[in-house]
Amino acid sequence: MSKLVLTEEETMLADMARGFLDGAAPVTAFRKLRDAGETHDAKLWKEMADMGWAGVLVPEDAGGSDMGFAAANVLAGEMGKTLVMSPFLSTAVMAATALRQVSDARAKDALAKIASGDVTYALAIDEGIKHDPDATTMEAKADGNGFRLSGKKTFVVDGAMADRLLVLAKTENGLTLFDIPADRAGIAREKSNMIDARDAAKIDFSNVEATGDDVLGQVDDAMSVLKPALQAGQAALAAEMAGLTAGAFDMTVGYLKERKQFGTEIGRFQALQHRAAHLWCETEVTASAILNAGRMMDNDPENADLAVSLAKAKATSTAILAVQEGVQMHGGIGMTDAFDMGFYMKRARVGAEWLGDFSYHAEKVAALRGF
């Protein structure tokens, strides 16, 4: 197994990403989009595609940069620091990973379009208020050579803007994953008014036609395609949350050093020092879990379950702590919309929930550890 240190390439990638994002997508850019009610920045996504980010998990022969999961996590982490709005997780990480599980010309073509930034994807998986793919009730009824999809999906991240949807539905003997255009007849998308100001949609499928060609992978066997995709998404989301944590933490430590009260910097108060120090310790420990998840997915994907759930669970609890401390230590100013900390708090909450919350992954860790 590779070492738990960033490689030289990874460090360079992080530096390069940071440099680009500080210019092209600082938090002020997020604020502008939020204020304008925009949930997608097409120009930014095109630039990311040009840098090979959209194709980070696309094979080179499909035009990708094929840098691997650890590299994808590095990018997600840097995006997290400045709350970058992009379809990176749904398209470049999850959809690409799903498509990679299938080796046919159609999938290769789809991967090429992801890498070029020409097509975006969203995953229409969940139906209830908690992440639970196994509880899918939406039906894909056999109809001649194809299927008819009817049902509702919720919390479809990037679902309002995506060009295509990966849709999970029940078929006769199991679950099947469909890859269909988002504008197909019978699909109605309603954009949700999300607290993190990002794109998520409720999608209604009313007798939507799907052919056998629209099936990604095998009928009744969605999970062999979907599971690696979800894992990749969970790990990258964990990395994004660690980035977000770092962003919030840096603001907080900066404030502790600069803000004066009762005649001295508040960072001189030991109670705050120890809480900040504890938080930093948690971020260090979280970083190890995320690095490990990337390594496991790249080197031993069959056995990456524990590593991924560990990373998502730990990143979630650390991010929640970081934004709580961030707001509290900033005092009243941290509560105002004019200040950025609230953005971090809201995004942390959405990240905590998406693709399985702390409990969901803690239960997985417990099961894999024998209790």
Partner: protein, 389 residues
């Protein structure tokens, strides 16, 4: 109700009155932001029932049940007050009126005001005719509340006030403000402050809402430019306004500690709230909910205990910092748990579980406003435990 009444007679009479007078629409217990009646000159009643309910309660003194009758109250004693809370809770009645006048200025005037001030200012508060806001904090001062820069220059019969306040709750909707103003720049920090009453319509008073992370603007910035404040508009003694402020902070702490979490008066069980939206609770969520419920019950009992002690003549004093700290931290935790239980539905503004996200974000201010949790712990450490400063 007469002084000679027994507790049970009082309860029976009250129950009959409530039955006859509380409109059905006011029996939904609604303590959401939308359900509250704040009163004031600019108040627009959300329904005829809300108006009726306020007027009927005000006529009986039930908007401020423990205040003296000549101040608009019903002069209930502690036992009667408990019965009042119980009977209101029994029919799930909404509070007829909430306001900073009731919570804050009222207690201050009852303690420090002249008889004339009491009968002048309090009855309109009790009737919901005048809405007050609070002007304590200033930009940059944060937890250091006594760091008051807003200045009142002595002009004989009035002070000429200049300066700026921040976190003035609902100042844009208030009729009057009670504010801390520095009236002696030479004195020590705590000894040159006066507690003044100012009309928001006075020339030179301007206010600007602050948008919060929860999307709403319960707070404002308020600016004073050459505002004339008559000398009669002072509560307590000149330059001793800090005494009034300290006394009020104690009240504010108790209020914030219990209010948000619905602790006094048997709030709904957190677990029951969670099982509204989820069939089963995962181990970590259930464990968190159980701990939170235990703390909520114990803190609720502590509020009761302190009220009982107060009646027995033992004021909470610095221990009110404990109530404020424990209550607000609990409330934040409670809303974190509710967000987790609400899943993706809680991630939308006004989604299927209501404005749960807004309420959650609002709680984050609980441990900042009215003295931060850190200030509360320092008060306990120094004044209760006697640890060296």
């Amino acid at each position: 109700m007469s002084q000679g009444q027994t507790a049970e007679e009082f309860r029976a009479e009250l129950r009959d009155w409530l039955e006859a007078n509380c409109p059905q629409e006011m029996r939904d217990g609604g303590m959401t932001e939308d359900g509250i009646c704040w009163g004031g000159k600019n108040w627009v009643f959300t329904s005829e029932a809300q108006k009726q309910w306020l007027e009927r309660c005000a006529a009986k003194g039930y908007t401020v049940p423990t205040w003296p009758k000549d101040c608009g109250g019903a002069a209930l004693n502690r036992e009667q007050e408990k019965i009042f809370t119980e009977e209101m809770g029994r029919i799930n009645a909404r509070s007829p009126l909430e306001s900073f006048g009731i919570w804050m200025l009222g207690p201050a005037l009852l303690h420090f005001g002249t008889q004339e001030q009491k009968t002048h200012y309090l009855p309109p508060i009790a009737r919901g005719e005048v809405r007050w806001c609070q002007g304590y904090s200033e930009p940059g001062a944060g937890s250091d509340l006594a760091n008051v820069q807003t200045h009142g220059a002595d002009k004989g019969d009035h002070w000429l006030v200049n300066g700026q306040k921040i976190w003035t709750s609902y100042a844009d909707q208030a009729d009057q403000i009670f504010a801390l103003v520095r009236t002696d720049r030479e004195a020590k920090k705590h000894l040159g402050i006066s507690f003044l009453l100012i009309d928001m319509e006075d020339a030179g008073v301007e206010t600007r809402p602050i948008k919060m992370i929860s999307g709403i603007s319960p707070f404002c910035e308020t600016f004073f430019t050459d505002v004339k404040v008559p000398k009669a508009n002072i509560v307590g003694t000149e330059n001793r306004g800090w005494d009034v402020a300290k006394y009020l902070l104690t009240h504010e702490r108790e209020m914030i500690s219990g209010g948000g979490a619905g602790l006094s008066g048997g709030g709904r069980s957190l677990g029951a709230v969670l099982t509204d939206t989820l069939d089963t609770l995962d181990a970590t969520l259930r464990a968190d909910a159980m701990r939170c419920e235990i703390d909520a019950l114990a803190i609720g009992l502590t509020l009761e205990r302190y009220k009982d002690q107060a009646e027995a003549g033992q004021g909470a004093g610095d221990a009110s910092a404990m109530l404020k700290y424990m209550g607000t931290e609990l409330n934040k935790q409670r809303h974190e748990i509710m967000m987790t239980a609400g899943g993706s539905a809680a991630l939308e503004w006004d989604g299927d579980v209501g404005n749960r996200a807004g309420d959650w974000l609002r709680t984050k201010a609980n441990s900042i406003e009215g003295g931060t949790s850190e200030v509360m712990l320092s008060i306990v450490s120094r004044r209760v435990l006697g640890l060296p400063a």
